[in-house]
């Protein structure tokens, strides 16, 4: 349950921050959630990864559908995915997920520092 909340919070926070801030703002969203919601290292990583991965994949699928796949077909031949649109979605989501996951790990370990120095 806690993990699910972490995943959803990461996704929502990333989305809201993404409206105003640059693309890498997902790192702060994922990091902040892990900082505030303590979990085991690996679980933090998965939550951060999953939150951003799902957000980005959801967004690309939604955008692609309303565009009738016009641009993704062209871009799948520009980026190194061999013309495969599914890979293009996955590549996008994976890049976001990896940043989210690593940022969540950082947040989790930063928390350990704060909790250890706190009285």
């Amino acid at each position: 349950m806690k993990s699910l909340i972490a995943v959803l919070s990461t996704a929502i926070l990333s989305f809201v921050a993404g409206i105003f801030l640059p693309w890498w703002t997902v790192a702060f969203a994922a990091g902040l959630v892990a900082l505030l919601m303590p979990q085991k290292s690996f679980i933090s990583f998965l939550c951060g990864f999953g939150g951003v991965f799902m957000l980005w994949l959801g967004l690309t699928i939604w955008i692609d559908r309303s565009n009738d796949g016009l641009l993704s077909a062209r871009m799948a031949l520009v980026l190194p995915v061999g013309g495969n649109v599914v890979f293009l979605h996955l590549l996008t989501a994976f890049v976001g997920g990896l940043i989210g996951g690593l940022a969540a790990l950082s947040g989790k370990h930063l928390r350990s520092i704060f909790s250890s120095v706190a009285p």
Partner: protein, 814 residues
């Protein structure tokens, strides 16, 4: 340990973001490109995207209504001219920002800022030709005229209003792919865009350097045979028999001309030359029919400018209604005004004049510093311009260009093709002179009759254009308008001495004496890049003319009566090959059938039975092209190879006409490289054998049909970098010298038909779409219509007809 892990993971995260935020090898910055809220996904325009709405923009004076129809064509209704051109600039930026930014940077010699070091040579050529210098001179002239300045200023504010409001997500896709940012607009950039057109249309219409090389090998008499001024089959723009006034200026041939131009001194070959010279297939057709020739009794005007086909297209369709104008047509993104179109009273169109308005002069410098040059018996100071070229990812490189009173020294020891001795060649080009071509369009957009049309085109200097005209009052006319030097015979065909003014242009042909016709008896006029006049015109007018299209159009129009809109649309799409009609009997006369293999005979039969149409599925057209190409090569190559580094190829028209006359032609027929004397029969037969090898290879690949052989494409502006943004292998026929002039990369960039009935019936099509965004359904939606030879109906919208619009965009002052 805790510290260590916290620092490790934070560093890893930051490091990954850092890496993804910049280009990795050939890959664009992946982070900002992939992020769905910022990157390319944001350019994937929803199929239900709402282009309407209401916006407040700083710089507007009043409210402007933009009615966008279902093809995304804006119909702009403004209360004053400033707002009208502000909104034109805004819309050009909204739909074509990357295009106008790239094209004006390229015009100025700044393509390397986007393309990196592969564009350096291109940039150097633009700088050395003095493109910025030309634009500065033009802008100074524009800004002298308060009305023109007001328009340019307003246009610039409009472009910038869009750029300033852009978010990262809205940035055109190409910027995200290249990892670059747009640059704000300024009036000089509009001037640069018009100079880019001037360069494309009037800088490739001379072959002075290679002709100078040819002159070192061929005798004057041979040069006349290889490169004749007037073709036998010419059907000039000004109908033969039209009387010309006595010349207002008679240029005097310098006494030394023959010995200097054709003597034995100063014959060292030129080792320079442009690598990125404009394509000579930048041609066009236009024609106009008087009411006496049409079924309705109202004039019909047609135009199809042939330019490099690109996505986004060079044209952007729109209607501009201001307090004293209401005009519809195509605009050039980057410049205000409608360039080709119609209003409630008149219609006009343009084709290129192909006239030579650019000459080269040899300069003698004091030393390598090029700070002084010898002129009129003394050393004169040259103006030195330091050019800094910013190369993406590679820093800045510098170049020094010396300017003389003739113009910039384009070629010198520091800028040639080879490491051998380079000559100093200054360029004299009318494109450098102060002029305000935009003023012509400002007035044409508002013109109501012939007199106002004639007044409008007086402002047009470069590139020389054939302005075709029709009015609802029934007048038709054509003027070849531009600033053309009055030359003595042969002046400007070859590099000229620049040590004094003896060989300078002595004046210009008075505008009133430019070739023109109004309301001819025969009821129609046409131009198709042919020589404008026959030999009776009192001036020497060299150029790079194209003869066959004019012949086809002239013959077809001559034969037509009670012409309808459908008839002229069919003519736009006409595939008849006039040149092949003349070449075929020659080939069939000389080919030795007994010497042919079964395959070669099969190709010969296909060619013999060919209907002379370059249709997409024609095999005869493919055989014709391959055969005639190899025949030309067989005739000329051995002769031209004597010229170092290269001589111009004679035109196909020249080859055909000499073969048709034959006997005097024999010295060129023989292959100099062999001991025996070759005959035309051997050449024609052997060239079919050579062609058959190529044809067989294509046939095996299933590419013998003309469109599959030619593979016509409309590429994205970044060409090979983005093949998936192009539309390739289009099923269209045609060729450069055929009315439907589609080549591999060039063709009718806009086809327009205007029937000047009381309510105006107009049609148009260009191979592209209104929205430059490759993620929009409006990016290439006209291409299929264009391929089919069909048109969109052009609707000059009235106030009160707004309900026919799909979206309404209301722009208000802030």
């Amino acid at each position: 340990m805790r510290y260590f892990l916290a620092i490790l993971f934070s560093a890893l995260t930051a490091g990954l973001i850092f890496l993804l935020d910049r280009p990795l090898g050939a890959l664009p910055p992946l982070g900002p490109l992939l992020g769905p809220q910022h990157g390319f996904w944001q350019n994937a325009e929803s199929k239900d995207h709402d282009f309407g709405g209401s916006l407040s923009l700083a710089g507007l004076k009043g409210k402007v209504d933009v009615q966008l129809d279902d093809r995304l064509v804006p119909h702009v209704f403004a209360e004053n001219d400033e707002d009208l051109y502000f909104v034109q600039g805004y819309l050009h930026a909204r739909f074509r920002l990357f295009q106008i930014d790239l094209q004006t940077r390229a015009a100025e010699g700044r393509a390397s800022e986007f393309a990196g070091d592969k564009a350096i040579r291109f940039d150097l050529e633009q700088r050395r030709l003095g493109m910025r210098f030309a634009a500065e001179n033009a802008l100074a002239e524009v800004e002298k005229d308060p009305e023109s300045k007001l328009v340019f200023d307003a246009y610039t504010r409009g472009v910038n209003a869009y750029i300033d409001g852009l978010t990262q997500a809205e940035l055109p896709l190409e910027y995200k792919l290249l990892g670059v940012q747009p640059e704000r607009w300024s009036n000089i950039r509009s001037a640069l865009l018009l100079k880019m057109m001037a360069r494309n249309l009037s800088s490739g219409t001379e072959i002075d350097l290679s002709l100078t090389n040819a002159k070192s090998v061929f005798l004057p008499d041979e040069l006349k045979k290889l490169y004749p001024q007037v073709h036998d089959s010419l059907m000039p723009i000004i109908p033969t028999g039209t009387p010309f006034a006595d010349p207002g200026i008679t240029p005097v041939r310098p006494a030394s001309a023959d010995s200097i131009l054709f003597g034995k001194s100063g014959l060292e070959p030129v080792l320079s030359g442009e690598k990125h010279a404009p394509d000579p297939s930048n041609g066009s057709n236009n024609w106009v029919l008087a009411g006496s020739k049409t079924s309705s009794g109202a004039p019909i005007l047609c135009n199809d400018p042939h330019l490099e086909l690109s996505l986004p297209s060079i044209w952007y369709e729109m209607q501009l209604q201001g307090p004293n104008s209401n005009v519809y047509g195509v605009s050039l993104p980057g410049s205000p005004y409608v360039i080709i179109g119609f209003n409630d009273s008149i219609a006009w169109g343009v084709t290129n004049s192909q006239r030579d308005v650019k000459d080269y002069y040899r300069i003698k410098f004091n030393d390598d510093s090029r700070t002084e040059y010898w002129f009129d018996g003394q050393w004169r100071k040259s103006k030195i311009r330091i050019e800094a070229i910013e190369v993406k990812g590679k820093g800045t490189i510098y170049d020094t260009v010396a300017y003389t009173i003739m113009g910039p020294v384009m070629f010198d020891a520091s800028f040639t093709d080879t490491l051998a001795k380079g000559e100093n060649l200054a360029v004299r080009w009318t494109g450098h002179d102060a002029s305000n071509e935009g003023r012509t369009f400002y007035q044409l957009n508002r013109a109501k009759n012939y007199d106002e049309y004639e007044a409008a085109i007086q402002h047009f200097a470069c590139p020389g254009q054939n302005f075709v005209f029709a009015s609802k009052t029934g007048d038709i006319a054509i003027w070849q308008q531009g600033k053309f030097p009055a030359r003595w015979p042969d002046q400007g065909l070859y590099i000229m001495p620049g040590e004094d003014s003896t060989f300078f242009w002595q004046g210009y042909i008075p505008y009133a004496e430019n070739p023109h016709v109004k309301n001819p008896e025969r009821g129609f006029l046409e131009s198709a890049n042919q020589r404008p006049v026959d030999g009776t015109y009192p001036y020497f007018v060299p150029g790079r003319y194209i003869t066959p299209r004019g012949v086809t159009i002239e013959k077809k129009l001559m034969a037509m009566n009670s012409v309808t809109v459908q008839d002229v649309m069919d003519l736009h799409s006409d595939y008849f090959n006039s040149l092949a009609e003349d070449v075929r009997p020659i080939l069939l006369k000389y080919v030795d059938r007994a010497a042919l293999s079964a395959t070669e005979r099969r190709y010969l039969n296909l060619f013999e039975q060919w209907d002379l149409l370059a249709s997409p599925d024609s095999k005869g057209q493919t055989i014709y092209e391959c055969w005639f190409d190899s025949l030309q090569s067989a005739i000329w190559k051995d002769d031209l190879d004597r010229v170092y580094p290269s001589a111009p190829w004679p035109e196909e028209q020249t080859t055909m006409e000499w073969l048709a006359r034959d006997s005097t032609y024999m010295p060129f027929i023989d292959d100099r490289r062999t001991d025996q004397i070759e005959t035309l029969t051997e050449l024609v037969t052997n060239s079919l054998k050579t062609a058959s090898v190529v044809l067989q290879k294509h046939e095996r690949e299933g590419k013998l049909n003309w469109s599959l052989f030619k593979e016509p494409s409309v590429n994205h502006l970044l060409r090979d970098a983005l093949p998936s943004f192009a539309r390739k292998k289009l099923p269209v026929g045609g060729n450069g010298n055929i009315v439907n002039a589609i080549t591999k990369s060039h063709g009718p960039s806009w086809r327009m038909v205007v029937h000047l009935t009381s309510s105006t019936e107009a049609y148009g099509i260009y191979p592209g779409g209104q929205n430059g965004n490759p993620g929009s359904r409006f990016y290439d939606d006209y291409i299929d219509t264009w391929v089919q030879g069909k048109y969109n109906k052009l609707n000059l919208m009235r106030r009160g007809e707004e309900s026919s619009a799909r979206w309404t965009l209301t722009l208000k002052p802030l």
